[in-house]
Subunit: 339 residues, 4 copies
């Protein structure tokens, strides 16, 4: 099939490569034209302007957007006046599903079909394939299946679940429901991802501090005594332990595989500052749960840890220090002076 | 090697089978003698009393305990008077690492070697092999390696991490450190397990309630209005979605494989009540983090969800209702009357 | 001043009484006309229809809405066609501040002034006065000050903060900012309220279970052994303890006063089921914090405890049980069988 | 009564002053003798050595320890050999109740009575009186009531709870139960304190960032777009708002009084770094809840926020960044570059 790709960052350019490998015809565009060059060498057609992109595609067109959530509306404003009835626009980025519902309605008024495709897989997706969570009309989904099949891992990559009638999910793509359903499922997926990541990170932090009893500890009213310092004398080897857990344990996962890889030769992770971004879905998952009345203490704790890693609790912490000074005359201790 | 196994529940009996398959000589005991029968058919020697078990084993003996944490001290009280210098006792259950340190010292006074082996793998361990986290003396660890090698998955079961010197961790067992280190690592492992499980469970609950806008909602001061009921109209297919996520996504894991399996033909999970036990390690992981001053908001949230699932928040909730009545005159609404 | 009050529930009718006591002229309406009767005896003028209410008020009119958040738009749709330029509508209920911003703009198009007034105080407000958090135009705020002064506690009810220039805040009402600022501040106020309530409730639950060591505990792999049962033998008297804390302690508060009152003669709180509602602001506070990237782990935990108290975690808990059965063969224990 | 006070920090010296004011005879000791000087001027007898202290007190002696929890055992080791049968030692500091149970047994073997007295009130206790939570033998409690009555606020300081038989709790001291019960109740008290403090701090942080929409925000895949920047334009006056909430609102409390005081003329709290200590009880409250199976998500979140304020999540955050780089190629953004 012929497909236009707008946005050639890490995700978009890898997806184009995977589509090319599977014999699809890719017309590509990025605001930074240099991003298209390596893809042209692999067989893609590059366009310098969105007009060209639309012109290069035979109607009815399929254009896949792979751009930051914050610029989707801007791109749509440029693109949709150029497009025609029966064309298809896919948002494969990390949009809020509320925006999908609005955009689908706006584009439907023009006769353009809108699909939201939550796309997971990261930089490994080029080789492993992408997990595609699709929302929109069933007929449009059916029309696009060759594209989805090319991007997804395909059958046979993981053991088959017993007693199951095979569907497209067993290849790695699924029509989840009407407009927004794809990004809804992806939003929840990322909420789970944050929770899993935080579970590993917190656990590794406990292991990392298993030798805390070796440190000398102050004996003042501001420092909790460590009850059994002799029980905190372990120098644990985190690269070995994460590697161990990959085999036979209940907590094996792809994230653990990657964690073990990160720690090889780099147990202290000193090349990172620990300033952790979030790209929106974790927030929206939490906001959605709150709307639903669904308790999500783990997903929220994981999200808040990221906010805190970026210094966003600072004013709250100052309020605590101010209160402590008022009621107890407590003076703050300098950073890093105790645990 | 010859080994005695005490405790033939789901874990102990499967481990004996795996040891027998790998050519080890197993002498077995359980408080319920019937539990030994199927193992005898596979080649194990059963004993009706602990005395017999000790008598059947050639010195220096190796006895592996696979019993609930609450009865380890009772079994040790019966067993150790029967044992001799240079014998080895392994606690492969879910003991607190603080108990390991104490027991190792007590047994050392008798010349008995104590090893703590955190064992993960569940009922699938018979076929997949067990992940073994070992604490104790290095020489005893080395002596026991044939046993550990037989129980663990072995090399080749997962892709090799690049740029790594292979160790026993790559087979699925590791000497983590001195006494208690094995259960320390297992304790953290289970804390992570709780966090991961809760992340999936919370996420699936959001998906499960994606159609909440279809319900009629009361309009009183006790019920929050649902701001966009038209955005909560999705009937999502959780068996398909969990299956999908197994392929190419960032959240693939063995726990997800099992979750997808559970949901096949059983999306509503109506045969479960949701009364979730915890077996101790999650608690100890949290208590340890608190001793260390390590923030573990995700691990604690996961643990508390289990406590709440068993009704343990009930008094706290009554306090909240009593407060609300006092300040606002709010009358409780019946259970299930709103979200 | 003359004021119209729409909504004569617990809050609205008490506020009318307080206004009457302070010499204001109140014209009142409720969908259930019986609610107006006791107020007529105290000097209010009752209306059977909104038209009458508007007709009874001299232009420019001031109408205060005290109705559930879910019906504000419906009431406005009926009311605003009857009103004129320069009239004032106050929403004193628990609306989302996002709705205030929208409504203020809609009403401004008609020349009607809109004010949002977050109102705290509960049923005790009749005697104690109400805390009023006001958003909207400064000139309209100034015009309404006699009303706010009558409803608020007034000066002298709490000790004066040293070194302070007295403002209306010292009487109990404040112009917080433009449209929505009143409900924004009230939203955060209620988020804090949830957090404080949960802090007390969790603490009292610990005290309540201080005698848990007296219970017999099962010794199976599904039940964590209690490490020091002899340290959990306290039968604590919660009515006495909450009363004690009201004096000299750091945690004294009005909520604690009410809690102590609730527990008198009723330590077990058996007349409550613990099904705790939430009326929206706690949700919006959390959603707002998420939008801002502000970590609010305590406010979210408090909110989620309420969701859980209403059974909303049930599906998540079933997922956990299903996973545990898959990997460990664990069978659920019946509710209430352990802690 | 005659009483010896060991430890003349902020708490101990104020308590001596209050005892002196109420006509008690105080013999005092501190490792830093200068601390005793101002008390001598007020009528106390200072001792340079613990031996002198014991010698100055008539048998049976009462000695109150007001020292950091980490040094109580050291002081007891010096003090108890000097003491006699029927003497009384009070630990008024922040010890773990587990230590009380052990110490009471050890001292009982010598015939010395041990009392644990959780003491709340902070630096304001000198004027407001202290809230005293007492554990130990009933007869010793009765013997010490004149001391407790002098230290506590006394009757009449807060409104009387209706329908209540007055007890010592109404004066501000209570015999909570046997050994350890006083510090058990104090431990929970401080857990609640942490939760309340965090509730205010988180809420004020939301208010503090109510103008976040005025900031320019990056539009890349690492930064969540702010959905309604025009709804985050409020410059809120926190000194005024906290002052307002002191009057008539549901969240009035002594902690709020102190917070309002802290913010006067100092809304930004720039003289604090936000490095918040914890002195042990919050940790023990959480550990106790975990032992009991009591869910305490709010108390734990409050504690973990303090741990995080001290940088203790740093390794966990690095793990998250390392994972994100592995799966998504995400590069960390510098601190402070976004919210």
């Amino acid at each position: 099939m012929q497909i236009g790709m707008v946005g050639l960052g890490r995700m978009g350019s890898n997806m184009v490569q995977r589509l090319l490998r599977n014999g699809h015809d890719c017309v590509v565009y990025d605001a930074h034209p240099a991003a298209a060059k390596p893809l042209v060498e692999l067989g893609a057609t590059a366009c310098a302007e969105l007009q060209d992109l639309v012109a290069q595609l035979a109607a009815p067109r399929t254009i896949w957007l792979m751009v930051p959530a914050a610029v989707v509306d801007k791109v749509l404003a440029q693109l949709t006046p150029l497009m025609q009835e029966y064309d298809i626009i896919i948002d494969g980025g990390n949009s809020s599903y509320h925006d999908d519902i609005r955009r689908a309605a706006e584009l439907a008024a023009q006769g353009i079909h809108y699909m939201d495709v939550g796309t997971s897989g990261g930089v490994a997706g080029l080789e492993r394939g992408y997990c595609l969570m699709v929302g929109g009309e069933a007929a449009t989904f059916a029309h696009l299946e060759p594209i989805f099949a090319a991007l997804s891992p395909g059958a046979g990559t993981v053991p088959v679940t017993p007693d199951r009638v095979q569907t497209s999910a067993d290849q790695g793509y699924l029509h989840c429901g009407p407009h927004g359903a794809g990004h809804f499922v992806k939003m929840v997926h990322n909420g789970i991802e944050y929770g899993m990541m935080a579970a590993y990170a917190e656990g590794l932090n406990i292991l990392h501090k298993a030798n805390i009893g070796k440190q000398v500890r102050e004996s003042d009213a501001e420092t909790t005594p460590l009850r059994y310092p002799e029980h905190f004398q372990y120098d644990l080897d985190l690269p070995e332990i994460t590697e161990l857990w990959r085999r036979g344990s209940v907590i094996g996962s792809w994230l653990l595989d990657l964690t073990a890889r990160s720690l090889q030769g780099n147990a202290a992770l000193e090349d990172y500052t620990g300033h952790v971004s979030d790209s929106g879905e974790g927030r929206w998952a939490l906001a959605t749960a709150v709307d639903q009345g669904v308790p999500t203490p783990v997903l929220s704790a994981a999200l808040f840890s990221r906010f805190e890693s970026r210094g966003n609790a600072e004013y709250a912490n100052r309020v605590l220090s101010a209160m402590r000074k008022q009621f107890g005359g407590h003076i703050e201790k300098p950073k890093g002076s105790g645990s």
